[in-house]
Symmetry: C5
Subunit: 235 residues, 5 copies
Amino acid sequence: MEIQLFKKPQGVKIIEGFPGFGLIGSITTEFLVDHLKCELIGRFLFEDQQSTVLIHKGKITEPLGIFYNQKHNIVIIHSISAAQGIEWKAADIVMDVAKQLKAKEIISLEGVGSAVPTTSSNIFYYTNVEKNRKNLEGLGTKLLQDGIIMGVTSAVMLKTKTPLTCFFAETHSALPDSKAAAKVIETLDKYLNLKVDPNPLLKQAQKFEDKLKSMMQQSQDAQEMQEKKQLSYVG
Amino acid sequence: MEIQLFKKPQGVKIIEGFPGFGLIGSITTEFLVDHLKCELIGRFLFEDQQSTVLIHKGKITEPLGIFYNQKHNIVIIHSISAAQGIEWKAADIVMDVAKQLKAKEIISLEGVGSAVPTTSSNIFYYTNVEKNRKNLEGLGTKLLQDGIIMGVTSAVMLKTKTPLTCFFAETHSALPDSKAAAKVIETLDKYLNLKVDPNPLLKQAQKFEDKLKSMMQQSQDAQEMQEKKQLSYVG
Amino acid sequence: MEIQLFKKPQGVKIIEGFPGFGLIGSITTEFLVDHLKCELIGRFLFEDQQSTVLIHKGKITEPLGIFYNQKHNIVIIHSISAAQGIEWKAADIVMDVAKQLKAKEIISLEGVGSAVPTTSSNIFYYTNVEKNRKNLEGLGTKLLQDGIIMGVTSAVMLKTKTPLTCFFAETHSALPDSKAAAKVIETLDKYLNLKVDPNPLLKQAQKFEDKLKSMMQQSQDAQEMQEKKQLSYVG
Amino acid sequence: MEIQLFKKPQGVKIIEGFPGFGLIGSITTEFLVDHLKCELIGRFLFEDQQSTVLIHKGKITEPLGIFYNQKHNIVIIHSISAAQGIEWKAADIVMDVAKQLKAKEIISLEGVGSAVPTTSSNIFYYTNVEKNRKNLEGLGTKLLQDGIIMGVTSAVMLKTKTPLTCFFAETHSALPDSKAAAKVIETLDKYLNLKVDPNPLLKQAQKFEDKLKSMMQQSQDAQEMQEKKQLSYVG
Amino acid sequence: MEIQLFKKPQGVKIIEGFPGFGLIGSITTEFLVDHLKCELIGRFLFEDQQSTVLIHKGKITEPLGIFYNQKHNIVIIHSISAAQGIEWKAADIVMDVAKQLKAKEIISLEGVGSAVPTTSSNIFYYTNVEKNRKNLEGLGTKLLQDGIIMGVTSAVMLKTKTPLTCFFAETHSALPDSKAAAKVIETLDKYLNLKVDPNPLLKQAQKFEDKLKSMMQQSQDAQEMQEKKQLSYVG
C-alpha cells in the first residue's frame, strides 16, 4: 500500500513517534495531536501486520496517522502500530513523507533503557547537525554519549540525510511511562517554541497512560480469547 | 483465486459475517441465509488455508458464500473460514463485492470482548456516516466509545469508503455465543425492517450454536487424529 | 513439476485415494491397483515435500502413481505422499488428470472420524449429482448428513465441476484401518461392477495394513535416526 | 549458484555419496577420493545453507566436490553438506552432472536403517536395469525387497532416467558407521574392478570415522558457542 | 540496498572483521580503525535484519563501515552486525568491495574454537597462496591443519579468487576475548608492517572488550524490555 497524503504542506518540521520503550513516541505524539488540534493529512496501513482498530470517543484512531499543525508548520507522524519487525519500512515512510513535504528537519522521539533505576528521567539528544548541539544543550538535554538505540528511530538515524534531531527519554521499564513522555513534551515545547501550558502535562500524560494501559489490557484479553477460539474452531 | 460472482444485483446492502469473538458474524449470517431463504450468487476459496469442508443436510456449506435476498435487495457474505491471518484479504473481498454490486452500505457484524461479566449482551455500533447516528441510537444500540476491534471488521473499518455500519455484540468468552447473536439479529431486523418473527430467534440460534459446537468438536478430533497420524506415517 | 501422463485414455472414471484418516484412500487404491492388475500411465512428484521412497518387492512404489485398468476404463490415482499441507495442489492434480482424460466421474475415497466407537464401519456417500442418490443408496450407503471433511477430498469437493461421488468410511482412529477399507472396496465393487471376489478382501486388506504399519515404523525409526544425526553433524 | 565443472570427461560412471544414515555416502566417497588420488573437476555451494568450512591438512575440503579418476573413467561426487532439506536440489545436481558428462551409470551409496541389531552389515542393492540384477547378486549383495529410502538417493531414484545402481549398507544407528562403509567399498571394488587392496580398508575407514567424529564434535561445540554468543550480542 | 562506496582507492589490501567467536573480527578491526585514524569511505545496511544503532562518543557507529588508511593503502571492513544467517551475503559484500578496489589481498580475521582450555591463544593461518606460507610462518603463526570454520570468513574462503590470508585466533569461549584479539593485532602489525606500538595493545583491547560487553548487556536488556512490551501491547 502507498502512503496516502491528502495535503502536502511544504518546508515543515516532522515529529515522528512510534511505540517503543515506555511507548514514549506514541504517548508524546498523541498528546501533541490532541493539544495542538491538528488536521489529519495522511495515513498508512501495515497490511502485513495483524489488523487491529482502536476506537476512541467513537472514532477510529489511525494506526499510523499523519497530522498537520499549520500554526507551527509542523507535521506529526503518530503511530500506534507495533514497530517490531517493521523498523526499516517505517523509516522509509518517515523519509518518504519528509521528501514529499521538503521537510527542514525530522524530530524523532524514542525511549532509551536505563540500567540504573532512578526516580527522574533524563532527556538525551542526538543530532546529525553539528552546529545544532549548542542549541540543544541550552534546553537542558545532554548528548547521548554511549548507548544502543532500537526501533524505528534507529533505522531513521542510519538512513536519513535530512537534518535529524532525536530526543531519547530515559525509561526504566518497557511499560508505558507517562512521566518520561511528559519530560519529552517539555523539551519539545522549548525546542519548537510551541507555547503549550506545561502545567496540565503530567496529569494529561497520566490519563493517556491509563487509556493506553486499559487498551493494552483489552487487546491482550482479545488476543487470549482469540487464541482459545483458534484451538476450538477450524472453519 | 478470483471471487466467483454468478449474479450481480446492483445497489444492494451487504451484510458480512466472519468468525470472530463468539462466532457472532458466522452464527448471525447463517441464521439470515437460512431464514430469508437466500440464493447463492458467489463464493470464494482461501487456498492458502487448510482445506476443510462442512457438510450440512447432505450439502456442502460454502466456506465463504455470497447470498442474495431479492425482497430486501440484501447480499449476505457468510464465512465459516477462520479469519485469523486473512483479515486484510477478506476485507478486500468484501470491498470488491461492494464495488461490483455498487453497494449502498456495508453492515459488519462482530463480537467485542467484555471485561466485566454480565448476563445480558449490549449491542454497540460504529458508523462512518455521521448523520446515521440518530437512527442507530433509535434502535437501542449505543455508540462504541472506546474499544479494540480485531478481525475482518477491523480491516474493513480501516479501508472501506462505502457507508459502513458495524454492530458489535458484547461477548464474554470466545465460545459460540448464540444469545449475543440473537440480539444482533433483533437489531438487524429493526434496522433493515426485515420483519422476521423475533420469537423463535433465540431457540434457533441455540440450535446453530449446538451444531457449530459439535462441528468444532469433530473438527478438533479430526485435527488430533490427523496429528497422531502425521507422527506415525511419512508417505 | 508437471504431471507426467504417458497414455491418455478418454472418458474414464477416476478413483482417487490419498492418505487420510485410517489411510483409507491409500489402502483401498493400493488394493485395486494390485487386484485389477493395472498399468502405470502417469506420475507426479511433490518436490516441496521431503523425499522418501518406498521399495516393495524390489520395485519403487510411486509416491503418486496414476494407473489404468482398460477392462473397466478406470483410472486410479494412488498416492502414499502425506496429504497434509498439499490438499489444494493435490486436488488440482486430480482435476487436471480428469480434464486431460475427459473423465465422466471422479470417485473420492476418504475416512471420516466417528465420535462414537462402534465395532462396524458405515460407508457414507456424498455426490454432486442429485439423481445419482437413489443408485448410491441402493448400495447400502447412507448420505453423509452432517460432518467435516478434511484432506484432498475436501478440496476436490470444493473445486471440481466433474460429476463427483465420495465414499467416506467411518473410522475410529487415525491408525491404518483395513476393515473400513475393505468395506469401501465392497461398495466400490458393487458401484462399478468390478466383479472382484469379495472373500479374500478382508484378509488381503489386513496384509496391506501390516505392510503399511511396518513401513510406517521403519520410516519413523529412520526419521528418529536422522534427527539424532542432525544434532551431531553439521556438514 | 551454478555447478562449476572445470573439466568434462565423457561416458563416465558417477559415484555419489552424501551424508545419510551412518554417513555411509560421505565416508565411502572420501575414501575413494583419497585412495584413487582423484583430481577435483567441479564443485557446488549450497548458499541457502549455513556456511561452514572443513579444513583438513591445511586445505579446504569442498562441501560438495566433484572428482575425476581417469584410470577407471569414474567421477565421484563427494558431499559433506548436510542433505536434510536439499534432497531434491542435490539430486538435480547429480543428474545435471550425469547429463553434462553423458554418464553411463549413476552409483548411489546410502545407509538403510535396520530394525534388528546385528553384528555384521549386509549390503543391499537396487537397480533400474533389470538385466544387471544377476551381475549384482554375484557380488554377494541382495536385492532390497522392502524398505524405505530417504535422503539424496531417494530423490535420484525417483527422478533419474540414467541407469542407476544403489548400494545400501545396513546400519544400526545414525552415528558414523565405518564398518558398514568398508563393506560398501569392498562391494564397489568388486563391482567396478578397482583393484584396491582390501586389507587396510577397515583400519582406514576407522580413521575416517574418528576424523569425522572429532569434526562433528568441534562443529557441535562451535554451534553451541555461537548460540551462547547469539544470546548475548546483538550487533 | 547497494554497497555505498564514496571513494575507490585502488590496489588496496582489505582487512575484514565481522563478529564471530570471541568477537575477534570486530574487536580487532575496531582497534585498527581507531588506531590508524582511518577515513570512512563506504557502508552497508542489512535491512533484512533488526535495526539497531550503537552510539559511541555521541556518534553513530556504522553497523558495517568501510574505512581507508592511506598510509598503508589498507581498507578495513568493520562490522558489528550479527553475522549469523548472513554469511554468504556478507562474503559477497567483501568480494564486491575487493573487486571495485582491485584488491591485491583479502585478510580475514576470525576466532576458532579450542577444545582444550589453555591460558595463551595461538594464532593460526590459512592462505590460498602456497608461496606465502613461509612468510606467514615467519610471523610465529601455524598453518591450521584441521578445524571447522564458520561465519563470514568461511564463506569468503569458499568463494573468493582474490589472494586470501586468514588469521584464526584460538578462543576458549564465545565471550568477547580481547587477549586473543590483541594477539591478532600483533600478528597483523608484523605482517603488514603497520609499526603500531604494541605496548598499549592489551590494555586498549581490554577497554574495547569492556565497552562491547556493556553494549551487549544494554542490548540484551533492551531486547528483554522489548519482549515484555511485545506481550502487553498490540498496536
